[in-house]
């Protein structure tokens, strides 16, 4: 009973289908279920919305086109025309994170993006991809990125190490930011909801408006964090393409 009311209970992972291949646990969990659901929802949304393909969009098509336009503007402003090649990936990333954040706001939902392993997997794909792009485009000249111009020679060894750490910290900060934001919001909601029960019939009404306000705020945070994740991916991509 007490466990049921723990604010961390919502983040627990249950195995739905046990799978074990060569000693590696690849069970189908509630997390996997929600990730599949996200993919299915996003795909079906765009397939159904663009089915009509009318010149003057209806409501649903306008929504889909709005999403497209939103991400296209981010890519154009942060990477430039060279970023157009990578638009499909960035768009999928944005929609996945956005849908993951928003599905977490549904009652009985599970927030996949509150798990650092999920966000870290996304961030490391971005990190490895961006590093590969930089290597392909600039070759060994990429290492010049770790030595800012105008560094005195006696500071160079120190600067290279610091720049390297700063570079390696990118996927970590990218993933922690998203996961911590989602987790903090959901715990706060759950704690406030616990107050409603604990304070009884008379005073239990006091936290209620806060929960309503916070729910709205959490939806805002869900969209904002998806936006920030995307914009930082674009910034890293821009660094890889143009070095600086």
């Amino acid at each position: 009973m007490a466990e049921q009311h723990s604010p961390l209970h919502q983040f627990e992972i249950h195995k739905l289908i046990e799978l074990d291949v060569a000693g590696i646990d690849i069970s189908f969990t509630n997390s996997s279920l929600f990730m599949l659901l996200i993919t299915a929802l996003v795909s079906s949304f765009f397939i159904l919305a663009m089915k009509g393909r009318t010149l003057i969009p209806g409501r649903v098509q306008a929504m889909a086109e709005g999403c497209y336009q939103f991400v296209a503007t981010i890519v154009k402003e942060n990477v430039g025309s060279e970023g157009r090649k990578y638009f499909p990936f960035i768009f999928s990333l944005f929609m996945f994170v956005l849908m993951g954040n928003l599905l977490g706001m549904m009652p009985y939902g599970f927030t996949v993006t509150s798990h650092i392993i999920v966000t870290f997997a996304l961030a490391i794909v971005v990190f490895l991809g961006v590093t590969t792009i930089a290597f392909i485009r600039h070759g060994t000249h990429f290492f010049a990125y770790f030595l800012p111009k105008g560094t005195p020679w006696w500071l160079a060894p120190l600067m290279v190490v610091i720049e390297l750490f700063a570079y390696l910290a990118r996927p970590v900060s990218l993933s922690i930011r998203l996961a911590a934001n989602m987790m903090a919001g959901h715990i706060l909601l759950k704690v406030l909801a616990g107050f409603v029960v604990a304070m009884g019939v008379v005073w239990g009404w006091v936290p209620m408006p806060f929960i309503v306000a916070l729910t709205g705020f959490e939806i805002f945070v869900a969209i904002l964090q998806a936006y920030i994740f995307t914009i930082l991916t674009c910034v890293y991509l821009n660094d890889a393409i143009h070095l600086h």
Partner: protein, 116 residues
Amino acid sequence: MVSQNNDKGRAMNENTDPPLPDDLKKRIKKAKSKQRTEEKEGQSGAASAFQVSTELIAGVGVGAFSGYYLDKYFDTQPVFFLICFFLGAIAGGYNIYRSVQSDIQKDNSEKDQDNQ
């Protein structure tokens, strides 16, 4: 056939709109600048402070993690851990400095655009 499609695609991307009257141009510019300020106000100070704090955590975390494993590899217990811990903290601070710097630059360029 294929080249025809490509031509069409390129034509779609290029700006083929007829020139707009000056009045409309001004109104669009005004609306856009309004939109921009609204977007900028969207992120509060607390939110950006939270952003910045994760930057520091990540720097220290990466430094401590790599230092710990370097020590394990070379069997020189606290040496690399201590060095990398502080270098990681510096790297985190450096990342914060860079992100704030780019924010300031963006603000300035937007102001310049509005003044023109």
